[in-house]
Amino acid sequence: MRARPWPPSAAKAKACCAATYGSEVMAVLLGDSYHPGGLALTRRLADRLDLRAGERVLDVASGRGRTALTLAAEYAVDITGMDLSDANVALATDAAQSAGLADRVRFEVGDAERLPVDAGSFDAVVCECAFCTFPDKPTAAAELARVLRPGGRLGITDVTVNPDRLPPELTGLGAWIACIADARPVDEYVALLTDAGLQVTRTERHDTTIAAMIDQIEARLAVVRMTARARAEALGVDFARGPVVLAAARAAVADRVLGYALLTAVKPR
């Protein structure tokens, strides 16, 4: 049996993720505005899914709605964003209103492992930088498959990790790395989707996007050190370790241990 360095259980992962995102310093470091690859990768995903005007699309873990609003505006799809956080749903709803897109974008509170929507009700489902955080991945994959109509397409962009080769600098990071540590290798995502009855049609590596994300985390860490060093240290940020960890993370990207991938799948007719 393979030893997963961190976290030991799904329940603990969920707790760690909550703690991570609940911590103000961590929120600043990780941010929530940009997933790796940004809007450029979102557009690539949409093109790979061949989204057409008027199609019904579900965005799982929609955050503040950037992916959903972009797809609605640029691909003229009818899109529902679903997120666990009430605050995110409220912010995204406001953003849709002010963008004049409320007629084809809506946001609702919902859990990826129990999507509150009917089976077969979407032409496409997208999920960006979130699948890795779902503690019960087989259940989440089954839910994504359930809500697609036969012939419907799933598009995922997400962190990939080869847990066996993750360097110790990255496993000892506690909450910061909690979410990344439950990311999987591409093969494992493929297996999860296949087991859920989907047919994987494409996998692409976009590892440079995670390198850019590491740059962003490094920049944010530097700003936190400049502005609120004492407070951040009280919350457990170890600035001396920062460069070591970031160097290890960059090396992990270079060694293809840590990366970012785009996957598409189709639900058989």
Partner: protein, 549 residues
């Protein structure tokens, strides 16, 4: 049965002609000028060996080619960072002969004036070997009077409504006896900030003058110093300025700090001379209390300058790569973004948040583009949806030719950008406040390649947002003013002394060049000399489709 023609041995031996590929990728057709006689000619932009070149041919003076961007990928990527221009309130001229013969601004111009420049004199207390204005200790120049300055300011305000920045330049503006009155006149008008473009000699020696500038520097009406500062090697000073000014520069900076004046260090950068000093200039700026920004300008091969090779001149992308190579721990080329208000290949900017003093423990630098995805806001082509229009507006003001550290607008927008860096609303964090305070110590780096008679591309000129305000009430795009013949025209009008068109001191032109009375080069043949007047700016000789191979 079909008879087969017998094939002779000779026919077999004849080589089959093989088509060859051109050695370059053709990317643009545009207009430029002949660097010698200044007629308007067709021009091509081509990419060769990952570099971008502009080529043109004058029927009389032959073919010219110059490097315009050292990194073809960056050149092409920059095209997305181009925003719709803003129409100024007034135009000063009409369209008659077309660009660049009708300046300006004519109704075909695509952008308003982000920055207006008033040259108050041609005289200078230096005689630098490199001076695009061809200034110096000269007996036959001119200096404007107060009422002329007032008229120039009024023209600017008529065109802009509320103007962001006017820059007083020269010559050397600080030796004009009425320079403080000029500043007062600007501050009495709806012009938010005044920049004084100076070599610093008077700032170093006349503390009362510096105090007067400091007194005028107030909220809503900033006075900032744009200080010529080319590097630290003695050779740099001798070859660019003709004198070792190092102690003077330091004293000028210290006096500015004393008077609470904000300074931009402005470096003219020449290939083979001071290109190795970019990192040191940035570090020096970060360490000095008066300095909030650095501007790097490849030497403009207009006016007076050292002999150069147009095919290996420095461009914006070269400067960016040099900065990244000299300060690899702080910068990457991707930290710099093109400015969308002018043509995006003209100017690139980045901002830093910094804390502490370079070389001391705990010093930190973070380029703002690593914290905020600038492309999501300033890429006007890819983004049909802008995540947040308020943030786009903030970044537009920061990535602008009107952005100068020390102005209220730039300070406000930096604070707003800092506040947008994180998720205050979601997390209830107090960090934005701390970051906003840090923004007060933000640092700006600008890279601006001005066009010269070799590199001039009418496409860029038509969207120029840096304008020379002339005493006769025109707003002339800076690079047209320096390249096409307007500078010579204005000097002739103001001084009453004929001025021949200046020709670049380029290596291929050496056989036809002779020295002008001001140290610049002019055509030995008499082309561009008009002792009896009759100057016509840039007559059109375009012949679309022919002549440039």
């Amino acid at each position: 049965m079909i008879a087969v023609e017998p094939t002779s041995d000779a026919a077999l031996a004849r080589p089959v002609p093989v088509k060859r590929d051109r050695a370059e990728v053709f990317v643009e057709y545009t207009k430029s000028i002949c660097p010698v006689c200044k007629i308007v000619v067709d021009a091509q932009v081509n990419i060769r060996d990952d570099k971008v070149y502009l080529r043109k041919r004058c029927p009389e003076h032959g073919q010219f080619e110059a490097l315009v961007y050292g990194d073809a990928q960056m050149y092409l990527d920059s095209a997305r960072f181009n925003k719709p221009g803003t129409i100024p309130l007034t135009f000063q001229t009409e369209v008659r002969d077309g660009c660049p013969s009708d300046c300006g601004l004519c109704p075909e111009h695509k952008q308003h004036a982000c920055l207006g420049i008033i040259e108050v004199n041609t005289g200078c207390n230096l005689d630098c070997p490199i001076c695009f204005a061809d200034s110096g200790h000269q007996p036959d120049g001119y200096a404007i009077r107060l009422e002329q300055c007032e008229r120039m300011l009024d023209v600017f305000v008529e065109s802009e409504g509320e103007a962001e920045v006017v820059m007083f330049s020269g010559g050397e503006p600080t030796i004009h006896k009425q320079i403080l009155e000029f500043i007062d006149a600007a501050q009495a008008r709806p012009i938010k900030a005044v920049n004084l473009n100076t070599n610093g000699i008077r700032l170093a020696s006349d503390e009362r003058f510096v105090a007067e500038l400091g007194r005028r520097n107030r909220p809503g009406r900033a006075v900032n110093i744009y200080l010529q500062f080319d590097g630290f090697d003695e050779r740099t000073h001798r070859e660019i300025r003709g004198r070792d000014l190092r102690a003077i520069k330091q004293k000028a900076l210290d006096n500015c700090a004393e008077a609470g004046l904000t300074v931009t260090l402005v470096a003219a950068v020449e290939r083979g001379l001071n290109e190795h000093e970019l990192g040191a200039i940035i570090e020096h700026g970060l360490a000095h209390p008066a300095v909030r920004s650095v501007s790097f300008q490849p030497v403009t091969h207009s006016g007076r300058h050292a002999e150069f090779d147009p095919l290996t001149r420095l461009t914006n992308s070269d400067i960016i790569h040099l900065i990244a190579a000299q300060l690899p721990h702080w910068f990457r080329a991707s930290d710099f973004f093109p400015v969308p208000c002018c043509f995006p290949t003209c100017r690139s900017i980045t901002y830093l948040l910094s804390d502490g003093t370079p070389g001391t423990p705990g010093f930190g630098v973070v380029p703002i583009p690593r914290l905020l995805n600038v492309a999501d806001y300033l890429d006007y082509v890819s983004n049909r949806v802008v995540p947040d229009h308020a943030i786009r507006e903030v970044l537009e003001k920061l990535w602008s030719a009107s952005a100068f550290m020390g102005t209220d607008t730039t300070s406000e927008k930096l604070a707003a950008a800092a506040a947008a860096l994180d998720c205050a609303d979601a997390c209830g964090v107090n960090l934005p406040e701390a970051i906003a305070n840090l923004a007060e110590r933000a640092f700006m780096i600008v890279i601006q390649d001005f066009q010269d008679p070799y590199t001039l591309n009418v496409k860029q000129l038509m969207k120029c947002c840096v304008e020379e305000i002339t005493p006769d009430g025109r707003l002339i795009p800076f690079c047209a003013y320096n390249s096409v013949g307007y500078r010579e025209q204005v000097r002739e009008q103001m001084s009453g002394v004929p001025v021949a068109d200046v020709v670049p001191n380029a290596r291929p032109l050496q056989p036809i060049l002779t020295e002008s009375p001001y140290g610049s080069k002019i055509a030995g043949s008499g082309v561009g000399h008009r002792p009896d007047g009759g100057r016509r700016i840039a007559p059109d000789h375009t012949n679309v489709g022919r002549g440039i191979r």
